[in-house]
Each structure stands twice: as structure tokens, then as C-alpha cells.
Symmetry: none
Subunit: 425 residues, 2 copies
């Protein structure tokens, strides 16, 4: 049997539809189901409102053979999911003695008294099948209706994801059989091309084929390309993935940061460590962001000496030895200053490579000659010193993030022997 099982995900709670919390249970459920070959038809959320729940559960069960619901099983007045399900099925709620014992046991184990309200959590719709909760108090339950199943789980993320994996997915397979579908995916990180330019370059590759999908996922300022391949045969699936991947890498070339979802900081630290090179930074416009990014990578202390965040001109001259003359004649935001900062970083940090950034993040500080977004990156290596200038768009946080990424990408390109593009400024 190799049929496709489609699922609908429903999350319940006023705090969800009112935008008070970011509901991540939907993504958790989606990923768990997809990892075993179940595809997702859609998702929805309603508040703690019985008529809305009844309508939504009913509809979801008509549309998909599997419905996974989370939320509304807690002990409080707000939690009305079991009641809604009982109304939908036209049955009563009844105390499930076994599940009630489990709840009592759990409180004993915690050494805490059980509140009377927790008894409510063992009230299940007549005819439903309990789904035991080994990680919290509220049991889940499953119902059958017109050839579909719906499973109800507590909204506590940790309990939900374990119950779904340990109890829910086996129940789906017992009911509908296990899908034979194989699923592989790969993420390519791209920096230096706009989304629309990328879409043009990959126009023919991006067309959906049965079992293949290419998604464009911008995560500012990087674009992630996600290749999803599915099918019956492991070999065929992996062949399609490697074929498509090689076309894409060929087309995008040097703008590819990584093929395994790594960020620019991981890639850069990786090359530095591999080549046994050390790095020191001189940051102005980024305020420390490049150092923060680099030190996200475990083991970065092997190659990262430090950063001199010289926001004031005094620190530029005293610590980085930028000349007074450069500051006066060219200004702190200039090719010359970026180069002197890079040299200063290399020397003050006792490092092989010095990387610097200077610019105007805004909202104030721009002039007609040097508007907000004016930005220079400097690179000092054992043999050479260079600088590049750009005009970065957007508000302050964008400009900072773009500046940090542009600097690390300049270093990545230099380390990889890629010719650096001419500067804009």
C-alpha cells in the first residue's frame, strides 16, 4: 500500500487567535508528521469557543483523513475541547478511571497535592480512545468519524511532541498503514542575489515536478533555497536531489554560502580553523554584531582574537592607530579609514587577518555626500590591504545586519579565492 496520507492541523486557544503568543505547535506537528511521510493539507486555529471548535473539527475531518488537534485539555474553565468533541459526536463526557489514576499518580510522584480541577482532565467523550500522557497530566484521545480520525493533544509543547511521536504516529499507521514515501531535503544558503534575480536564474529548475519542490525562503539578508524530494525509491529520490542540487550550485556559483543550511559565520569560522588562520575585527557601524555572530560558533575561540568596537573617533586613533589626518581629510566613514582600521585590528589583535567596518546606520548622521547606509569594509591580510564601499538600504537594524553580513561575506570570498566585485562607492 502506498497511498498518500494527508493531515490537517488544528490548534485551539484564545491566546493563539488573539496574537498573544506565537503558536509553534503547528510547526512541531507539521514537522513530526512530514518526517514519517504524511503530507499536510493545511492548518487552522480557533479560540476557546465551543461552536467554533465543533465547526472546525467537523470540517477538518471531512477534508483530511488525519486531524491533529492541540490545546484546550488543561484543567481550567477555558479548556473546552473535550466538551466540544462530545457535542460534535452527540455523546456525554465520562470519567476515565484509568486515566484519572494516572493523573493522581503523577501528582503523588511530584509530591504535590492534586487540585480538584485536574479531575476534569480525565473526562473523555464516550467512545473515544484515550492517548496516555507519560510527560504531564492531561491525557489525549482519539475519535473515528466517517473514515477519518482526529487526535486531541494537550497544548504543552514538550508533552505534545513526545505524545505525537510515541503514541500518535503509531496509531495513524495502525489505522491507515505506513506510507512508503521517502523524503529527502537540502538547504542552500545564498547571499548576494535578490530573490527575484534568483527566481530568474532558477526559473526552469523551480518548476514543480511530481515529488520535487524548490522553495525560496528569504531570511534577511540571506535567501535559503530548500529542495524537497519525495518518492517510493530511496535511490531515485537521492538521484533527483543530487541532480537538482548540482544544477542549482552551478547556476548560482560563488553566491552560495553553504549547502547544508550553515550561516555565513559558521562557514567563515570553518575555513579559518581549517586553514589555521586567526581573525581580529574593528567594528564601528555594527557595534559588535560581527563579533557576536562569529562567537555564536562553538570553537570560534580557536581563531577569533577579538574585536575593537570603536564607536568614538578617540578609540579609532588610540587603539586602532587610525591617523588624525585620515579622520580629518576623509572622515571616519571612508575607504581610507576602513583600511587603517583593518590594519589596526590585525595589529592590536595579534591576528593573521584584520577585518573592519565603518558606516552610517541612521536614522541620523547622514549628509548629502555620505547618506545613511554609506558603508565601507576593510580587509588587511599578511600581504595586502583592500577596501570596498556600498550603499546599504533600509532602516538602522537592516543596515547593521547587511554591513555585518557583507563584511563576513567579503572575508569568505577572499578566503575562498573568489575575485571580489568592484565596490559601489
Amino acid at each position: 500500500m502506498n497511498m498518500i496520507i494527508e493531515a490537517w492541523i488544528l490548534t485551539i486557544g484564545n491566546e493563539i487567535i488573539n496574537g498573544v503568543i506565537t503558536d509553534t505547535n503547528r510547526e512541531t506537528i507539521s514537522r513530526e508528521l512530514r518526517s514519517v511521510g504524511i503530507s499536510i493539507k493545511g492548518m487552522s486555529s480557533v479560540g476557546d469557543d465551543i461552536p467554533a471548535m465543533i465547526e472546525e473539527i467537523d470540517r477538518a475531518m471531512r477534508m483530511s483523513r488525519v486531524v491533529v488537534v492541540s490545546g484546550g485539555l488543561g484543567p481550567t474553565e477555558d479548556d473546552k475541547t473535550s466538551e466540544a468533541v462530545a457535542k460534535l459526536l452527540g455523546v456525554e463526557l465520562t470519567l476515565n478511571e484509568l486515566q484519572f489514576e494516572r493523573i493522581k499518580d503523577r501528582f503523588l510522584q511530584w509530591g504535590r497535592p492534586m487540585a480538584e480541577s485536574n479531575r476534569k482532565q480525565a473526562l473523555l467523550p464516550v467512545g473515544s480512545e484515550p492517548i496516555p500522557n507519560d510527560h504531564g497530566t492531561a491525557p489525549g484521545f482519539m475519535i473515528h468519524r466517517n473514515g477519518s480520525i482526529a487526535m486531541f493533544y494537550p497544548g504543552v509543547p514538550r508533552e505534545l511532541s513526545r505524545m505525537l511521536k510515541e503514541q500518535g504516529i503509531p496509531r495513524i499507521f495502525r489505522t491507515f498503514g505506513q506510507p512508503k514515501s521517502i523524503f529527502r531535503s537540502q538547504t542552500v544558503m545564498v547571499y548576494g542575489l535578490s530573490e527575484s534575480r534568483l527566481a530568474e536564474i532558477l526559473q526552469d529548475v523551480a518548476i514543480d515536478e511530481p515529488g520535487f519542490h524548490l522553495a525560496f525562503l528569504p531570511r534577511f539578508p540571506v535567501i535559503r533555497l530548500r529542495l524537497d524530494v519525495s518518492g517510493d525509491d530511496v535511490r531515485a529520490v537521492e538521484d533527483v536531489l543530487s541532480q537538482k542540487l548540482s544544477i542549482i550550485l552551478n547556476r548560482i556559483g560563488e553566491n552560495v554560502i553553504a549547502v547544508d543550511g550553515q550561516g555565513i559565520e559558521q562557514v567563515t569560522v570553518g575555513i579559518l580553523r581549517e586553514r589555521n588562520l586567526t581573525l581580529a575585527l574593528a567594528e564601528s557601524i555594527t557595534g559588535g554584531m560581527i563579533g557576536e555572530m562569529v562567537t555564536r560558533v562553538p570553537g570560534s575561540s580557536q581563531c577569533f582574537m577579538g574585536s575593537i568596537v570603536s564607536y568614538s573617533n578617540d578609540m579609532k586613533t588610540s587603539l586602532l592607530k587610525v591617523s588624525e589626518q585620515t579622520l580629518q581629510a576623509r572622515g571616519a566613514v571612508s575607504h581610507e579609514c576602513a583600511r587603517e582600521m583593518a590594519i589596526g585590528a590585525r595589529s592590536a589583535g595579534f591576528a593573521d587577518i584584520g577585518l573592519s567596518v565603518t558606516g552610517i546606520a541612521g536614522p541620523d548622521g547622514g549628509t548629502p555626500q555620505k547618506p545613511v547606509g554609506t558603508f565601507y569594509v576593510g580587509l588587511a591580510t599578511p600581504d595586502d590591504v583592500l577596501s570596498r564601499g556600498f550603499l546599504l538600504p533600509g532602516p538602522r537594524d537592516w543596515v547593521k545586519t547587511l554591513a555585518a553580513t557583507q563584511a563576513l561575506d567579503t572575508l569568505r570570498r577572499w578566503l575562498s579565492g573568489i575575485r571580489l566585485h568592484g565596490t559601489e562607492l
Copy 2:
């Protein structure tokens, strides 16, 4: 007229239903609508699949008078929302010349060539009303059907939220009138108390009353408390809000960072600028994160001199003048080193105040005496030098974030004349 307007929110994209991205547009739309008194009936998401979109748009428009849709208006093959709407209405797509001109203008303004694929973004269903996009390329549009409206927006969060506020909400009011219900909310930022401790302290205040709701919204490592008050009468609503707020502020006291949703970096920069004080940093464990946080605040260059990110011991001795003896006898992660780093930062940065952090972020580098998470903050002021030690929990990124927040909170408390708690280490 004081009728309730109910809205349904629909987000579109395979990456959403497949759990590849966390969809925060739903919450953004919900909050924008609720802030003007529109209530939310529910939310759903479907993939880039025309039949699924048609079904979901049709259903949402039957259930709610206002439907807000985001996603699927980009330039790529995946973006099929306009096509789905045209099919639903039984009309063609046609090029909207005015919107096409606006897209071309935007590329001119950016100084970048427009890709052919961007033309697609100006193809709108015949009979729909364009919603101009002043913040990006894709225009939105609005349709009417059986007494309901549906509005379609691009999925780019920044464009979506501005377009909804500036263009969408006025269109809803023009169609259905403005709801009279008054809605006020306030956000209190708390640092230094656990969520369960906070829940205990506020147990009686947290009980829902008609028109009042208190939400606990942890945003690591800060907890946001959101007070929502609604009702018919402005005066009564504002009275309830200020009453509840003053009870909460009284109970939490010095652990309140701000009452207007400001972060610790905004509050700290605000006090420094008010008092005309300058700050320099010496960062080790945080890698530049504190400088990055401080420079998020526009105008921070008025008080922030810079940061010496001394990851290597060489930089600690050469730039911060930490003594060799301290490093050998006490180590780089110690009260003594933190104090010398703070003094060094103050002096190297020519600043009134020096703030330093040193610690072990992990996953490697811990010892039985100084496990991962060991962390010291130092503060050097014109009159005094002090240090505090903590053991911070969690993985590398948590430890860094906690260290940065703890350092800024130490400074905030000192600047506000709050007695600093004894150190843990």
C-alpha cells in the same frame, strides 16, 4: 453603530504548512486588527496550491465579514494567490498599469534592474481594488463577495504590517464602519524573576475579569506582561488599565525594566543620555553582543564610546591592561579579571563608566571549579569598582544572551540607585 466586526486570517505558503518557517504574520495581523477593536474568529493556512486556496478563501469569506490574507504575491512560480482569487471569482488577471509603474519606479529608486518576473506582481484579478505598497514591490488588492471583503497582502512582514495599518484598516472602516469598542493595552517588561514566581506574586491580579486580561509572555530572558483592557467607555477602560498597572508595578518593584515595552538596552541608553554619562565595554563571553544591543538604539553614539571584545588573553593584557598576575593566579574568568577589564574599558574608551563581562559560554572550556555558565560582570565608575558572579544555565546562545542582559541590568540598577544583590559566585 457599535457592531462587532469579526475577521478571519489566512496565511499562504508551502513553507508555512510544512513547518519550515515559523509564521508570525498571523500574530501580527491579529494584533493590528484587535488594536482597533476588530475581533478574530479564527486563522488558517494552506500551501501554494490553487484548489486549496480557493476553498479556504471561499470558506473564510462565508464565515467572516473581513478576511485578511498574506503570502503568495511574490514574483516566483510559487506565488499563486492572485491566480487563485481570479479563479474563485471567475475573472481574468489583468495588468494594472498604475501598480506596474509603481514597481518600476521602486527599482529605479533602488538603482537596480527590474526582473521580468516582477511584472507578474502587477497582474491583479479584474474588478479587484489595488492596495498600494509603499514599502516594497508587490501591491495588495481587495475583493468584495456576498457582503464580505477579503484583502490580500504580500507575506513580507514589514510590508504587510505597514500596509495593513495604513491602507487596510481604513478600508475596513470605510466598508463596515468603525467599531465603538475601546481597546487599550500596556506591556510591562520584567527581568530577574522566574515566570512561576511572577505568576505567584500576581495570582489575584491575573484572574480574568470582563474586559480585562493579563498575559504572561516570556521572551527570553525577559518576561513581558501584557495588560489588555476593553469596553465601551474610554474613561472606564483607562481607569481599569491604570489601576491594574499600578498594582502590578508595586508588586514587582525594581525588577520592572520598563512599562512601555522598551528593552533593557533602550532603558539603559535612555538613562545614560539623560544623565550625560558615557559608557565603554570590555566583552569576552558575549563576543560583542552588548555593544550590538546598545547600538540598536538610535542616538546611542551620544553615550556609547565603544567595546573592546577581548576574546584572547593577549588583547586583555595589551588593550585592557589586565595584569598577567591576575590571569595566572585567578584566570580570565574571575571577579578580579572582570574588575580589571571594567577599569581597562573605562580608561581605553575615555568613558565615565566601564562595564565588563567574562565567562564560559560552552560547550567546551568548563572545568569542575569553573563549569560552563560561570560568569562575572564588572562595573567601574568614577568612584568605585565592583563585580558580581553568576552561574548561568543553558546552551551557548542562552548563556551569551543571559550574560549580556545581566550586565546591562547591573548597569541599569546601578544607574537607578537600586542596591545590587549579592553575587552567586
